[in-house]
Amino acid sequence: MKMSSLVCLEARKVKIHKLILLAFPITIALLFSTFVSIFGVNQDHASSFAAIIKMMTSTVWDFYLFYIAYLINKIIVEEYVDHTIMILFTYSIKRTRFFLAKILLTSVISLSCQILSQVVCFAFVVVADDRFSLVNGVLTKSNCNEFLQYAMIDLLAADAAVLFISAAAIMKKSVSSVFLYGIGFLFVYQVIISQINSFPVLWICYGSLLIASILFYIFSSRRWMNKLTTETR
């Protein structure tokens, strides 16, 4: 069976349109929090567009990390919790392909929604600044490039998060563990983004994180994927 068909079947199982619709309230919440935080952080109107863009993109990323965890719960953990994984494993399709389809679906949905929210929030900041003069200075082409760079780096980090949390889901097979590992990843992301301003270093850091997540996923799927139930002892 083609991978695209497997992804479509995964989407049918979880009624993906309902999960995609969740991105709308998330984006509205993000617009609100972006506006409030620019007002709160930037009351003296001293922060530049560069600082605001960095803060905004990482806030969007933070929100979407929980969205990713939620998707993984729906797409991976529920298969184990509801024991439907036993149905999947009796089909003549390689188990690794099932999980690849699940990860692809999670990645496509979460990354598309995230990039959409990033663009909407950026547009909102530009419009809000025009109306309320929130930011120090004017928007330049280099600010737009910075936004693009941060958005791309965030996609890379989000993909690493998808793999890392999926590996945790396969290992622990529980909702709470998925969110716990997600928060752990969020902490690592925040430490890196708050300490480093250089784009090449950020690319290297998150690229390394992606490689580490891939390795963790491979290890986890080999060791725990075939265990049908959660460990009770």
Binding site: M1, R12, H83, T84, M86, I87, L88, F89, T90, S92
Partner: protein, 303 residues
Amino acid sequence: MSAYIIEGKNISKSFDSTVALKDLDIHVPRGSIYGLIGLNGAGKSTLMKILVGLEAMDSGSLCIFGRSGITSEGLESTGSIIEYPYFYERLTGLENLQLHASYMGFHDKNRIAEVLEQTGLAGSSDRKVMTYSLGMRQRLAIARAILTYPGLLILDEPTNALDPEGIKDMRTMFKDINRNYGTTIIISSHILSEMEHLADWIGIIDQHRIVQEKTMDEVKKNNRSHLTICIDDVKKSCVILEHIGIKDFAVQENNSIRIYQDTDPSIVAKELVSGGVSLYELFQDNRTLEDYFFEVLQNGGGI
């Protein structure tokens, strides 16, 4: 082509320190309905999980559809219900079957309607599975298992939670599938009377291995209803029985004789006593598969 659709030798499986199967041999003839019976924890479900690839055996050899081990070709031709009828709860019965058909690469839409009709779920196929009763789930699981005309059906307690009418319907359906499509069915059930009506082969599993595999005809032959008499003089009793025209009997240990021939117990008693034999006990033993099963377990597999 082998006469067996499933042939396993020395299959062993342990979970940490718990032994689930130990040197188990199994032979399921093609086109048969093979009833697997055993006590709880004997290893039936583990064996079935191994047969559908949900668990891997630690050692031993397994041949299904003439191929060694669990192959994708084998899985494509296998329908199964293992442990409990699990489904995607938020999807309807119909959506669950459509999903299964898609995964199996099976695209006959009429067939879905047909199995829903066969299992009595046509009227409730648009309801979400989470609203189904256990009996309905069981029916839906059976519908899913037979959807793609599998060559092999592996059913772990498929009639659990069904009402007597449902059990009878399913029995008829399994027999029809077996007869019409030549589907081999391996089925486990705690309802031994049901198995007696359904299976044409019986495998008794005890202490993590199969202790006996016999055709139902053989089982019935070894398990005929009989009249048991306990007497003081076996030789004399045999002469008397032959004298009154009873030929089909067997001498047992402990001075008892089993008379398989249909006969009037009062005549037997009268003739024995008048012939000078002391008759201690006389009783009619109407044997069922359950009696046979427990007798096999007591004798460690031998009868």
